[in-house]
């Protein structure tokens, strides 16, 4: 996920990862409890957990 004027830029892709949901064809996975980057108390980045590194 790329911060872009408050937007998140997302490309679709397919990867295989392990996890509680099907991995095949998983293009984007943003989770509340993982990969959140804060600047102070504000969210500045939300890292994709699909393995695509958006």
């Amino acid at each position: 996920v790329t911060d872009y004027d408050g937007f998140a830029a997302i490309d679709t892709a397919s990867v295989t990862v392990q996890g509680p949901i099907p991995a095949t064809g998983l293009g984007l996975w943003l989770r509340a409890d993982t990969g959140v980057t804060l600047n102070g108390t504000a969210v500045s980045q939300w890292a994709d957990q699909s393995g695509n590194n958006h």
Partner: protein
Amino acid sequence: MFLVSANRSATTPSPAQRAALFWNETAAWGATFLTPAQGAVQARFGTGQTNTNLVYTRPSSIGSAYTRTSAMHSGTTETLCVNGAVVQTATGRRTTLSGIQNTALLGRGLSNTAFSGDIVEVIVYSRNLSDAERQQVENYLQQTYFPSGATATPTRTPTSGPTATPTRTPTSTPTSTPTPSGGSAFQEQSGQVVMEAENFADSISRNSQSWIKRTDVAGSVGTGFMRAEPDSGAAIDDTNYPTTRPELRYRVQINTPGTYYVWLRGYATDDSNNSVHVGLNGQAAASADKISTSTFNGWAWIQSTRDGPVATVNISSAGLHTISIWMREDGFRVDRVLLTTNSSLTPSGNGPAESPRQ
């Protein structure tokens, strides 16, 4: 596409506006979106076919509660679900998606109109899911966010949410004090838990410095390591660092309370970037601060502190806890974190395998 979200506005927008997830179109009727508003859940898959909005009017009692919404396109059939239940099915749709931009917007819809609410989880697939697979995702989201009911307030603290006012930085306010929660906590087993530094739960920037994932030093384990940047020689703060220095947080499920020896697999180049602080549950720990290495230009397992004793944290209760790493000297690199109740364990090389997460 699956969402867990809440909408704070009682106004039901036009279908493509104020979407939570939105791909604009490159050709007519290509826009693809999911808009979980209070009054209606609306979605579309762009195919070029006209008048293909999926619209489900839902009771106003939903208010600003969190709900799960999903939309699927499978062959000629499209399905809209709310809280796992199919609320609308459409047939006769064109099979191939087309006229859709490659880049999506999160928290925005047509004409940059903002989604008025909070988004706590987003899952997108680029293929059809079987019914069993769809149910697997729904079950995961329900168990994660709604263990006590379909529209309960999520038990996790929502940590993100594009807001009604467009800003470069989403302005929702996660709690600044770590609240151990479920989800992807590392599991302690037999008195040991091992974490890749880049698999943090939260990374918090402070005073214009951050932990940045890097891969430019060979020999790290996993997909990279974390480095405190910029390496500008910022002054050391051994007192107020929990609130002044960038922080990485890791959630751990502890089943064996006790004293844990703290090991870091770190990398320093000289005395100016060879130390870091570790703490527990958002608090400084005098027994684990000022962890320092005298090994330079190579990855090393370190546990010494500048105070003398090896680093430890006392985890007095079973359950979820948060381990924090705060920058002490910028430029320090951390690759892995190991906690062990075994005082005689000395990791070497890459160290043990990373612990499972749940």
